[in-house]
Amino acid sequence: MLSFRDPNGETAKPIKQPPALVIILGRALLFGMDNLLILFAAPIFALQLLIDGLLIGAIFALAAYGMALVWGVMKIINFAQGEFVILGGYMAFTFSKAGVHPFFSVPLATVSLYIVGWLLHRLVIFRIVEEDLFISILATFGISILMQQLMNQVFSADVQTLDSGLDTWFLFDGNVTVLQIKGVSFATALVLGACLAVFMKKTRLGQAIRATAQTPRAARIMGIDTDKVYCTTFALNAAICGACGALVLMTWVIQPFMGLAYTCRSFMIVIVAGIGNVAGVVLAGLGLGVAENFAGFILGAEFQAAFVFSLLVVILVWRNFTLRLKRRYLE
């Protein structure tokens, strides 16, 4: 709202303008309608967005597995999740610079991040397990800042990327393009997810992790070394992030300060999927990828994140509502 003061010192009538937010949203809707019409007129682009969304979503899911695990087992929300991803990318970058084939840099990044995770647990994380949630958030937030700055010192703030050597698939007369590396990421995400699920169900260590997640005290009484379980869980999380980072490096670009995007998305996926639910994480990740891509197309890139987080609020409200209904039945 603008107001003018005239020479007599009286305030002139303010000129009424719609608030800035209304203008911005109005513009987005206007553009949005146009873009929506394109999708109806040429559904081929909707297919492109859908495929890309699913493939991108798989990468987000990969970043979120570990967060769900650490959150579920150790009751820690890891705010350094995105930094693990980026560090994984830099590890892969370093190995490939040393002459390793891009694909072999993925397992190498995984292993080196396992070690990083293990060391971090031995140094910091073991002190904050079973502490207040607030303390763990502060600690991991601190780790995230430290990692950003260290990566900046070691690898410089330059944007890095790695060519996987893979090509693009063309479908429908070149109107739909699918990056082969995204396909590889998708497959990796699903395979790793399946491995994780089997690991948790079938192996002794997996069972120990699940037992610890349920009641750490009882697990200790039954002879489980919960400290070791925590350490493994945290290192496993870092390792998965490492694989994710290597794939991100080959699909997009990395930079020391890009981690936050992955932390936020993992956080969101885990909230929607619930902790300790691998299938849920995959589905939520794929859903997030698709939603983000369509929102970016229809509303414009600036509303991509806003739309997704609004969706999160709607999902939480809806869940609260349905749970309350259920409770009423029980009464």
């Binding site: 553009f31 873009n35 394109i38 040429a42 682009f45 492109q48 967005l49 890309d52 991108i56 700055q149 900046n152 010192q153 410089s156 703030a157 330059d158 944007v159 990327t161 060519d163 693009t168 063309f170 070149g174 109107n175 393009t177 990056l179 991100v248 997009w252 670009v253 930079q255 020391p256 300060f257 890009m258 936050l260 995007a261 936020c264 983000e292 891509n293 369509f294 929102a295 970016g296 197309f297 414009g300 890139a301 600036e302 991509q304 994140a305």
Partner: protein, 414 residues
Amino acid sequence: MSRKLRVLIGLLVAIAAVGFVLASPAVAKVEGDTIVFGAAVSFTGKYSTNGKHTKNGYDLAAKRLNEMGGVKVGNKTYKIKIKYYDDESTPARSGQLAERLIKQDKIKFILGPYGSGPTKGMAPITEKHKIPMIEGNGASRALFNKGYRYLFAVLSTSEQYLAESINVLAEEFKKDGRDPSTAKVAIAVENDPFSMDIRAGVIDDAKRWGMKIVIDDKLPKELTDMTATLTKVKALRPDALIVSGHSKGAALAVRQTAQMKVDVPMLAITHCEAADVIGKFGGNANYTLCATQWAPTMTYRDDWFGFAGDYAKRFEKEYGYVPPYQAAESTASVLVYVDALQRAGTFDTEKVRDAIAATKLETFYGWVDFDDTGKNIAKPMVLRQIQKGKYVPVAPSKFAAGNVIFPRPKWRDR
């Protein structure tokens, strides 16, 4: 608290106070026969790469000037020294450090930080203390509509970065016998002050030609992926795609247009050198138009460094890499200061400020002539096209070393 401890603390405070009193006059604007400039540059944080270029640019200027005997102010010749602080890539910290440079270190001449953000943090402080600041790395036009009297910038402001590409597009349309007003333009810029200025400049020029903006996306700061925007480009088939998002945006635009085989007749971006798009993407970077403030191939010259190419050689010998324009404009800032000091013949900040405002100087970086708002109006931006893995200046015609290739060959024909 034990008595011993109390005595110890008292002693420490006393020593600190004495030290402070002794230290503060020691670093003044002129130490004997040395002029001290102050600068807060990003050594850490997200601007640290460009901060390094800025510092190298300043240092090379100081080194060269000292080598040549120094700077004559009045009847005495002085050497040059630069006092640095690290602004950690945060504008708020830049403001604090400006305060510290001026009040604590008593520095009277400030060189700019890297980036529009930190420059915005510093300008109000230098203005408050009436201390001149010459900067070469803050391009946002918001710096020059606040009525600052003591801020001077040697570089072209950001709305000029890619505006030229629209004129190139119009010219190419005319050459093909098509009406420029039928051209469709797609814009995807990062949502930060610098890139939004670029967008404003592009939109102004597009409007002048009556072109239609078909995509106007603002990319989020935590930009990781441009798939949605590029799908829109495929659907709407604009004649030009304009992208600005610092190094990240440049790398993503070049990489993803190639991966998704987006056939757009013109792709114009910023920060090609910073992102090293030729080194990273090789042939896929070909035909991209890159905006640049300066290039070693230009024909400007001065008495300190010779031609632009000579500067580049000297810089490469010293630091081992070809100078990006961020370094060149930093060096030019020091040269403008030195020229103004020599003409003023005094260290009186007010007189030096007036001498800076009256600058009309050719440097290896380009002509410098400030308007009333403090921005340099004598040096145009240059557009270079990547052709066969080399940067070839294509516009404005005065600097062109080759013809622009338009439209870009389709991906299937490459």
